[in-house]
Subunit: 201 residues, 4 copies
Amino acid sequence: MHDIPQPRKAPRQNRSCHAVAAILEAAARILASDGYAAFNTNRVAELAGVGIGSLYQYFPNKQALVAALHRRHGEETLAALDAALAASDGRPPREQLAAMVAAALDLHRRELGLHRVLEREWPAFDEPPASNPQDAALSQRVAAWLQACGLEAGRAEVLLRMADSLVHGLLLDAGTPPAGLEQLITDALAGFLGLPAQPHP
Amino acid sequence: MHDIPQPRKAPRQNRSCHAVAAILEAAARILASDGYAAFNTNRVAELAGVGIGSLYQYFPNKQALVAALHRRHGEETLAALDAALAASDGRPPREQLAAMVAAALDLHRRELGLHRVLEREWPAFDEPPASNPQDAALSQRVAAWLQACGLEAGRAEVLLRMADSLVHGLLLDAGTPPAGLEQLITDALAGFLGLPAQPHP
Amino acid sequence: MHDIPQPRKAPRQNRSCHAVAAILEAAARILASDGYAAFNTNRVAELAGVGIGSLYQYFPNKQALVAALHRRHGEETLAALDAALAASDGRPPREQLAAMVAAALDLHRRELGLHRVLEREWPAFDEPPASNPQDAALSQRVAAWLQACGLEAGRAEVLLRMADSLVHGLLLDAGTPPAGLEQLITDALAGFLGLPAQPHP
Amino acid sequence: MHDIPQPRKAPRQNRSCHAVAAILEAAARILASDGYAAFNTNRVAELAGVGIGSLYQYFPNKQALVAALHRRHGEETLAALDAALAASDGRPPREQLAAMVAAALDLHRRELGLHRVLEREWPAFDEPPASNPQDAALSQRVAAWLQACGLEAGRAEVLLRMADSLVHGLLLDAGTPPAGLEQLITDALAGFLGLPAQPHP
DNA sequence: CATGAATGAGAATTCATTCAT
DNA sequence: TATGAATGAATTCTCATTCAT
């Protein structure tokens, strides 16, 4: 319906770079602390310490700002997944799965408020970015890993959505997140994948 | 911080009853088709075919309208769960679980757009705490069922959240929901509960 | 510009009489405690315990309600003045003046909040009721008294306005009304009339 | 309960300065001609020839606009009093008093309608307490003058209120203000202060 | 007569976006 | 390029008044 807004131009100069970073940072802070309802471009510009005009130099509209934040979140997720896979290389699948879940939880725990809004308040009139490059890369990684484990690679997408849903559902919504979240989620995902049960120590 | 908004007054007469129903119906339709961003009281009243003043006779503010829709969804969920449990009474736990998952999926499939908004765009700042009466009733049912199955009743809340997350994450967010959704979700939940694996036929 | 609204009809029956009284009482209460800003016909009807429709049976519009309250205040003032004059009959002019001032102050002290609003918030688009029957009667009384004292009767109107201004200005506006208000106002009015100064005891 | 509303920001540039002035002027005009009931921000903005948004850039809300007008009135009053005292320096007290009364009357005659509303229709629920800086300054001036005349300085506040009441009551409310207003009010105030009577020439 | 549901014009205020400087 | 004043469409909500029951 609407196309996903892109940043207006890639900033080349130092000052611009700094401005963009400041704007994103301000946007993240407002979104994290007060939610989408309190998120307006004037406030973002003010908190970023730039004029409202400058904000519109780098972002064609409000949506583009949120989209940029989304992209940043995707990149972080990808990096975290890669790191977790690299660190757990050679271990049994279930342990690798646990490592990935732990990494995702860590990532989300760090910026709880921001992620809550980012994941739950993507405005409905913009189609959900189902097919952004990061998601594709993410799927690729997971598919490769599944294949390496001798599991059905076609389940990568579903596994990712499942993991995402569980992390957000259990971590973001619960006032008091239940202890052993990693274990719970890993169990569920392992159950879905048909991995052999592991006795809880 | 914010209190949960309540309907302003219970309609007694026939005409009023109809007005309230029309308003809720209109609200649901708009929310479902265009999302929260396009949801405004004037449009709701217009679509409902009542004056804007009438809307405010029955709902003290915009939030109360969404809250009423939410409450309705909660009631439907509870009823669906009860029905599923009653219908599968006496069957093995895994089948009962599958029945409940199927019921939840059915329910959500029926009003996809509305539920997407209700579950994901409910503005974060006045999100009702997880301890509303419907959630409590839901937990109670599930806890009783777990106990009857000889499983740990304390996991009811987490199980519910998990089911919720999976249903929404897989059904609502995916452009094209993967086939065999009941099976996928049931597998994951069974894995979490430690139910014995069931060979897929 | 606009004509001063009159009560729609004089109630003859008992029930009606009671309704009108209840409405006026409710109106006075709301005006007194919350001011004109919070004064709306629906609230008045509710507090009076009658339907909003009934209110409009007896008062053609909101203004008429306030006008009726005004008239009531005028009647009370007239009665108080008469009583003060009767009680101080035969005493020296200054004492009579003091008696009238004291009566006016008493009257206003009894319903401070209501009078504040009544006197200060008469809506600007309705001409101030400069020539209502009560004011005329009041002037007549004062003129007669002035003549009896051998003073210039033509000053009655101005004297009344002056007294009114002083009572309202000093009693209604001052957070803590200065002690000896009667004395202060009497002194001022006596000064205006040229009455011989009276040593304060 | 309510805090006194302040202007939102001080305009720096030329255009802004002009806008603020235009807004205040428009507000004064509407208030003067049609009263508080007809005073709404949209109309003010339109008459001022600025967008409604601009109005809200400089005044956080409707009240702040009226407050600004009030403040302006206070400043003018203070200036007029000072001028009158300076011009009548060295004359006998009664003449100085007459000069001050004349100054106040002049001031109010110039913008009759506006002052009527400002003084009498300022909504009661957020009436600023009598202890605003301008009132204090006014009291100070009068107290100093009383002391210089050998009169009781403690009566400054009451004298001010009295003068205020009389000016407003006689000038603003009366359809046709009585002739010789200066004389009448001066007589009354002198009577209150115990100044020796002055034979009317 | 009494009622109160229904109405809708109107009021205050916000905020994404533009454009002159 | 950066700025921020200006804008006005859009939104939420109120309340005087009517009229069918």
